[in-house]
């Protein structure tokens, strides 16, 4: 028997039952079919499970599913508008800012949070802002360029 939780995910009201010790990441992936957020380290070091809770980027592996009660959660699945990709997604593709793709959903969510607070970040600010996200393929440079370019598009 689990705990019944009502929350909002990407604008939709969602109800689920989970065990009290289950992480939000496991709830998203295993109970709700939202497999965008990935488990890398499971200890809050790699950021591949990044989602937003009440407007702040968090590692969903370090949030309990039961904590989601009444909160607003945004995952990478909510980033695009229908079939139209978010500028960050478009620019990640254009700049080839991914290879294996495991870190990408986390980078996108962390970059989104960064640009919401700071629409025109310097390279240094981007690197510090994304320091909680690890990528073992790209060497980060292409990711930084993609975020800079997306920021430009988003500023209009």
């Amino acid at each position: 028997m689990g705990v019944l939780v009502t929350t909002t995910i990407n604008g939709d009201t969602v109800e689920f039952a989970c065990d009290p010790h289950e992480s939000l990441l496991d709830v998203l992936r295993n109970r709700l079919g939202l497999s965008g957020a990935k488990e890398g380290c499971g200890t809050g070091d790699c950021g591949s499970c990044s989602v937003q809770v009440d407007g702040r980027v968090v590692c969903s592996c370090l949030v309990l599913g039961v904590e989601a009660e009444g909160r607003e959660i945004e995952t990478v699945e909510g980033l695009s508008t229908g079939t139209e990709l978010h500028p960050l997604q478009t620019k990640f593709l254009e700049h080839a800012a991914l290879q294996c793709g495991v870190c990408t959903p986390g980078f996108l969510m962390a970059a989104k949070a960064l640009l919401e607070k700071n629409p025109d970040p310097t390279e240094e600010e981007i690197r510090f802002g994304l320091a909680g996200n690890l990528c073992r393929c790209t060497g980060y440079d292409k990711i930084v360029r993609a975020v800079q370019d997306a920021a430009k598009v988003m500023r209009g």
Partner: protein, 286 residues
Amino acid sequence: MQYEAPETTKAAVGLLAKAKGSAYVLAGGSDLLVRMKGGFVEPDLVVDIKRIKAMREIKKTASGFTIGAAVSCAEMNENKALIKAWPGVVEAAGLIGSKQVQSRCTVAGNLCNSSPAADSVPALVAAGAKAVIQGPKGKRKVAVEDVPVGPGKNSLKKGELIEAIELPARKGKSGDAYLRFIPRSEMDIAVVSAGVSLTLGDKGVIKDARVSLGAVAPTVLLVKAAAKAIIGTKLDEAALEKLGQAASAACKPIDDKRGTIEFRTKVAAVLAKRAAQIAYKRAGGK
């Protein structure tokens, strides 16, 4: 495991006091959930304090600031009045983990976790902060340096929890600073750290100071001899030298993969001096 998210401190204390097995307070979870995941702790009860309204607020009062135990370090870094009064404390809180961790982690949790390398603790100790502890026998206030008693161990009794951290009001020309040494530029654990808070009297002479060191002993240290070395001075070369000597003399570090005893002892002096210079400048000294 039972999960509870009470809405009052009283209810939280009641749950913790009545708990039969192991009970843990959940604030940001950046320590607790990692330990649960690693199998180091298996709580029978977790009491989430984030639904307690009073614990979510930073209040500015005549006697200073009250930072609720569930206030995240990100929220501290967005509070202009707090940043202005205690820049060192806020910077130290802002050094814990990543943006993701910042969204959740709290200084009260950092204190209770009782790591000697905790970033916010030396800054809080230097600031003369107090922990407001609520428990079955009522409220008590203790100096933050008396909360950790060893690595991973704190002085809270069964049923007790920290409700808030209090920072004193800033009077006159005052400043604080926190510095840590890490081999990376971010996202790392302090090898050595130092916090300094000071107040200037007439003509830039230091009339009051507190100096703390992190990661050089089983708990964060308040180094009174180091403060004494700079009180009554204008932080001239001789005073800085004595400050450094006192800081090194207070170190009782261990050798580990992050740093040697020799390195930590030497760098403690360097960081204490530099932090004192920043705090002095922030206080308006020249």
